[in-house]
Subunit: 346 residues, 2 copies
């Protein structure tokens, strides 16, 4: 890996829950597993003011800090925020930080349900919380949010997934296959046993190109909205934004996360019946889609919302498509804050 990337200096202070020998959905037991997390605000004595904010693909626990602020809906003077790191993020157990023989390309397959079960232990056993005010996240954070709502219906009052669906849309799976292959396509990837992640920079660049294609809408490119980020050309944006973003990351970590994304499915406890799984949700759900999202199109998010009892469907219109939650436009962030304000008022 890039030597100084997966550090608290870059990503903020993490704490860790020891998961011990953690049994994965795959049947594999990961020895010495750990769950990294961050917090914000203070848990009150009644332990009833906690909000869980899992993060998206390629992110780390701190990502959702961007939505927390005094005088904002996610107010740390009012709520206690738990920001768990995904398995595979580089802080929680990951290909890049797990000792041999389970390191790198030998890291076992993990699932969204593994994240959620680990987070459940953090919430209930470590913090002693019996009920969360809300679970919310974007993209893979939204996949975890939906898994929470199905798996632990008594444990959360509200669920607000952004740009995520109950199972991965088939078109999005074709995309996952493409960007996962992009990382592996670099001969330096070597089955996941490279000496340094920077050796795999060609694979990381190829993977970035896939996100340049699918992460933003055609409207964004048509309007050259990348100029708002200070770039002077389309290619400069692809290189300076997407390639630069992914360059320091560990390809094996990205692949561990992507495999979870691709195989996400909330119905494992309902015999594969997604409609039954969604129908069992008791939390108040606000299911949010982004206009022009090429990963999780509004049609797919809406189809979920229609199967969740009492759910509200919201579509946020932005030129950024799936990347709307990167806070690239103040108006996008304001719309997301408005969704949180309405959800927490309900």
């Amino acid at each position: 890996m890039s030597a100084d990337y997966y550090t608290d200096d870059v990503h903020g202070h993490h704490e860790y829950l020891d998961l011990g020998d953690f049994a994965l959905a795959s049947g594999f037991t990961l020895p010495g597993a750990r769950l990294a997390y961050q917090t914000a605000g203070t848990l009150d004595e009644a332990r009833d003011n906690a909000i869980l904010l899992p993060h998206m693909y390629s992110g780390t626990a701190g990502f959702m800090q961007a939505f927390i602020g005094e005088d904002r809906p996610l107010d740390p003077t009012k709520y206690f925020f738990i920001l768990p790191a995904q398995l595979g993020d580089g802080f929680s157990s990951s290909p890049s930080n797990t000792p041999a023989p389970f390191n790198g390309g030998a890291f076992p397959a993990v699932a969204i349900s593994d994240d959620v079960r680990a987070q459940h232990r953090l919430v209930t056993e470590h913090f002693g919380i019996e009920r969360l005010v809300m679970v919310s996240g974007w993209s893979m954070g939204g996949q975890q949010t939906l898994e929470w709502a199905v798996r632990y219906p008594d444990l959360l009052e509200r669920a607000v997934p952004f740009a995520a669906t109950s199972t991965n849309p088939d078109h999005c799976t074709v995309f996952c296959d493409l960007h996962m292959d992009a990382l592996r396509s670099d001969p330096a990837y070597d089955g996941g046993f490279y000496a340094a992640s920077t050796d795999v920079h060609v694979g990381l660049r190829r993977h970035a190109q896939a996100f340049a294609l699918m992460g933003a809408s055609s409207h964004m490119y048509r309007g050259e909205v990348w100029r708002e980020l200070g770039f002077s050309s389309r290619d400069g944006f692809v290189q300076g934004f997407l390639q630069a973003y992914f360059a320091p990351m560990d390809p094996g970590n990205l692949l561990a996360q992507a495999a979870k994304w691709k195989s996400s499915d909330v119905s494992s406890g309902h015999g594969g019946d997604v409609t039954a799984a969604l129908g069992s949700i008791t939390a108040k759900v606000t299911d949010v889609a982004f206009t022009g999202d090429l990963f999780f199109p509004p049609e797919d998010v809406r189809a979920d919302a229609e199967r969740i009892p009492g759910a509200t469907f919201e579509e946020i219109g932005s030129v950024w498509g799936h990347f709307t939650m990167f806070n690239l436009r103040e108006a996008d962030t304001a719309e997301i804050d408005a969704v949180y304000a309405a959800a927490l008022a309900g």
Copy 2:
């Protein structure tokens, strides 16, 4: 190359126009260049019943034969059809058939305008035609159609581009960069100097995955419309349709075509002023977009049509997106025939 792919047995009978030492837009002169073509129907004595039908990326001259038929709008008992092969298609001068030192990876860059100038010689010098009834094609065939309408306004009465634009949309250029890199990503590509195209099968598969992602709409995958083609799984469709389609092709030929696609621009004769170029068109234009087309979205096609004097904009709604013109549904073909009927009646 796949030894028996670029043959008349597979693609129908070709004839050839010797272009001699052909000066390319790049400034390079390609020695001993040739233009392959097919024909259908009979040129009448007045030489005023000819229709030119250039083909799309990855196709060959014969592709547009699928739209020609008695009792159909493109009726060979009424019209004479000229179906030119693109430079780089494997029959016209291409990386795969040009002798050293201009073979393979050393084949010079060609442009849409080179195709159109070569076709102009075929139409005017070889066939002695002074005016075409229509020029029409899909995708890169549409790019050539628009180039014809701008470059030779006196030579065509009608232009009917399907799913193509005057310059490549920026989002589509990000896609071209991705699928071109996919071919080159295979170490066996070796700068274009592989022994056999089948050696580059991994690159060809990777390139096919990009077309699986972008060629069809998310609606197609959502509805599992691939079942109509006889496949029993999404992955079976990707492998059996896309990978199988591209597998026998020559990667260098695909790259020669893709570079033209990416750099397409009708404004070269108008100092880079696309609006002026489109405004100079005198042919009757029917500019056709496909709903859900991720290469050339309807918004971009419409923006062209609004700048072409008297142009009609049509949008054909199909779940197949850009692939609508592959004739995968009878309803799609019927809609395309209807566009041709209306255009030729006007």
